[in-house]
């Protein structure tokens, strides 16, 4: 059964409340967003004339590929096998973890080094490997920080975005048991030193995948730090884990996606390193892994293919631009979403993959401002899919909602049925309008009645109740027409 590791999205409301109370966190998020967005804007500015047509092309390639997903995956498999890559398929998280574990066992591995990969977070791979007695070390600096803190990443590109320099410093000193300087550069160099030893002792290197190329059976992975190059150069075995949607048909497609993903994600023209893997080492005098494995993971993705609209979710190239622009993410950060995929893309991916009952609040945790859709390099209609999911939860979701959502629907559903009947009758609309105005007028003076009207008390918890002007427009219009007559 498809699932997302350690999901706790049903605690969204209380986790978000905690995040909002955390002033340090919100400061870190606001600074990070400001910086990411201005870098992104600058990087795109230079190719502004082409950007929209690039988005169209990228979206069309992804759409076509998903519509031909079966054939493209089989083509990838055939070519990858020819290249000497051992291809494995995993229907769900459990099978994927088992496969990787078996490969490690066959390799008699004791130590595993990993470079940043969201799909391995999704399936909870580290947990499984550690349970089997392996040492697992995350080598991306952000991932390592999160790992030694015992946390999950709070951003799909910048895992430790919720940390400040001070909190990382505390963490490093506690973990390493020695004094270290407080500046970012020195701390980074300490991490280099510690992690270099982990690279040198690792038997297996595990990476994610950015693009599987069907026509060549090769795959591309992006990074900035060089940790992934080390992960795939030093250990005897390289295991890549990929969601089945990460495929593109042609090698030449990489040009377009590479020109977009760096700009969109981190505001870089291109990422520092882009590694294209076409198989294990070819001759004995080379370095590099002797065995290369590819684990193709479904874990619920095929469920999303059945609807043309929702299928777009799988176009995602995990650039993180929607997280960087999202005004909700800005306030609460990634952890409150309770899924390794937070923010706008997570709010559509998580409930569809893990099941509505595990994450039914997430589609509602958005003001539908649409900023995510505007920045998405592959043009995923995130607000449209959020609306689609809201409809499913509100109108067909009985028995598939978490407790919070169930409570909300108990209030909302009858209210909207009444609302609908009022709004279909001008007479009832007029009368209820007068009543609502009177109540609002009273409520703008006193909170005495709030407890009888939960939405009113919710509103007042952070805002005053604006006073209605008095009278309706239609009444004023009628007086005016009568006066003119």
């Amino acid at each position: 059964m498809s699932t997302i590791h350690d999901i706790r999205s049903s605690h969204f409301k209380s986790d978000a409340r905690e995040a909002i109370a955390n002033v340090e966190l919100r400061g870190a998020l606001a600074r990070a967003q400001e910086q990411s967005n201005s870098k992104r804007d600058r990087a795109i500015q230079r190719i502004a004339d082409d950007w929209e047509s690039m988005r169209d092309q990228a979206s069309a390639i992804k759409t076509w590929t998903l519509e031909n997903l079966g054939e493209q995956l089989e083509l990838f498999e055939r070519n990858a096998v020819k290249n000497g890559i051992q291809v494995h398929w995993a229907e769900d998280a459990e099978n994927a973890c088992r496969l990787v574990n078996e490969i490690c066992a066959d390799a008699e591995a004791r130590s595993v080094i990993k470079s940043k990969s969201m799909v391995t977070e999704e399936i909870g791979l580290n947990h499984t490997l550690e349970a089997a007695g392996l040492e697992v070390v995350e080598s991306d600096l952000g991932e390592w920080i999160v790992q030694i803190a015992g946390e999950t990443p709070s951003h799909i590109v910048a895992p430790a975005i919720h940390h400040t320099r001070e909190s990382i410093h505390r963490l490093f000193e506690e973990t390493l048991g020695r004094k270290i300087p407080t500046d970012a550069e020195s701390m980074t160099m300490v991490a280099r030193e510690v992690l270099r030893q982990a690279f040198l002792r690792a038997d297996v290197g595990i990476t994610g995948v950015n693009y599987l190329v069907a026509e060549t059976g090769s795959f591309l992975v992006l990074e900035n730090e060089g940790n992934q190059r080390l992960t795939t150069s030093l250990p005897r075995v390289h295991i890549a884990v990929s969601g089945i949607e990460k495929i593109v048909p042609r090698l030449a497609d990489l040009d377009l996606f590479l020109r977009m993903i760096g700009r969109s994600g981190t505001g870089q023209v291109v990422t520092t390193y882009q590694n294209l893997f076409c198989g294990p080492r070819r001759s004995p005098d080379e370095d590099g892994p002797r065995d290369m494995h590819m684990v193709l993971v479904d874990n619920g993705r095929t469920k999303l293919l059945a609807s043309e609209k929702r299928r777009q979710t799988l176009q995602c190239i995990r650039c993180g631009a929607c997280l960087n622009i999202c005004p909700v993410y800005r306030q609460i950060g990634g952890h409150a979403y309770g899924s390794v995929y937070p923010g706008p893309i997570g709010s559509i991916f998580t409930p569809q993959v893990a099941g509505l009952h595990k994450a039914s609040q997430l589609p509602f945790a958005s003001s539908l401002c649409g900023a995510c859709k505007d920045v998405c390099p592959v043009k995923i209609d995130i607000p449209g899919i959020l609306l689609d999911l809201r409809e499913e939860i509100a109108e067909h979701g009985e028995g598939q909602r978490d407790q919070e959502t169930e409570l909300k629907m108990k209030r909302e559903s009858p209210a909207f049925r009444r609302w609908s009947s009022l709004m279909q009758s001008p007479r009832k609309y007029r009368m209820s309008g007068a009543l609502v105005r009177t109540m609002a007028l009273i409520a703008s003076h006193t909170s005495l009645f709030d407890r009888f009207i939960p939405p009113l008390s919710a509103w007042r918890s952070t805002r005053s109740v604006p006073r209605p002007e008095g009278g309706s427009f239609r009444a004023r219009w009628r007086r005016r027409t009568e006066a003119n007559r």
């Binding site: 509602f364 003001s367 900023a371 105005r437 604006p466």
Partner: protein, 247 residues
């Protein structure tokens, strides 16, 4: 030009002066303004909350009403809200199960404009001979901005207002946190989103924050009042209608 004012339920019930200002502005531009008092709501509150069946019934009725008026020779439907205009624009998709209605909705959407969009794009008027003494900043309401592409229109209109100084805030296009039922389902997040904007607005020393949507304005006003700010929240129409007013 015969114009139907689609006043929206929020303006009708809470900010009728925005409706009156809209009428006056349209008349100043030479339009004949009509108002069908059978109008109720565009259907968005239910639609955005996932209650699509409940929304459809309301949307269908609104579309029928507006289509009928167009058939009787009406020229343009104008609405002092980007959000409700955008809902009308999306109605055809929502009513896709009913092809006749859906086609009607498409026709209505083609003849529907948000106020500033109508003035600039359709009437080609940017100078309303208004004057307003003071300093303001703009809040771009999300649906107008992203669904309808309204960004320059209000700025061009405000540029012609005598005595007015517009200070742009970097966060002008960031959501105010209203989001319909979102504002009461997640009041803490919603309030924090408003705060985020208000901090910058307050610091900029303006007299008012101006927007094209009453919903955003009630959210911002509610938070401004709760934090004892002196900044007022004003609808664009309320400012543009003035010929001699100060802050």
């Amino acid at each position: 030009m015969r114009v139907q004012l689609f006043v929206t339920c929020l303006v009708d019930q809470f900010r009728p002066s925005v409706g009156e200002a809209t009428v006056e502005i349209l008349e100043r531009c030479g339009c004949t303004v009509e108002f069908d008092d059978r109008q109720t709501c565009c259907g968005q509150p239910a639609f955005n909350s996932g209650h699509h069946e409940e929304a459809k019934a309301v949307v269908a009725r609104t579309i029928d009403l507006l289509a009928e008026w167009l058939d009787e020779g009406g020229d343009a439907i104008v609405c002092p809200s980007g959000s409700c205009s955008a809902m009308i624009a999306h109605s055809s998709e929502l009513l896709a199960d009913d092809p006749v209605r859906s086609e009607k909705a498409r026709r209505v959407a083609e003849r529907t404009w948000e106020l500033t969009q109508f003035l600039i794009d359709e009437m080609k008027i940017d100078d309303l001979e208004s004057s307003w003494k003071g300093t303001i900043t703009l809040h771009d309401a999300c649906h107008g901005l992203r669904d309808l592409g309204i960004r320059d229109q209000p700025r061009r209109l405000l540029a012609k207002v005598k005595g007015l100084e517009v200070k742009e805030c970097a966060s002008c296009d960031r959501c105010c946190g209203f989001g319909g039922t979102f504002s009461v389902n997640y009041p803490l997040i919603s309030g924090a989103m408003a705060d985020d904007k208000i901090e910058e607005i307050d610091a900029s020393g303006v007299d008012a924050v101006v927007s094209g949507d009453v919903s955003c304005l009630m959210q911002l006003e509610g938070r401004l009042q709760a934090t004892n700010s002196r900044v007022k929240a004003l609808h664009l129409a309320q400012l543009l209608v003035e010929r001699d007013a100060g802050s």
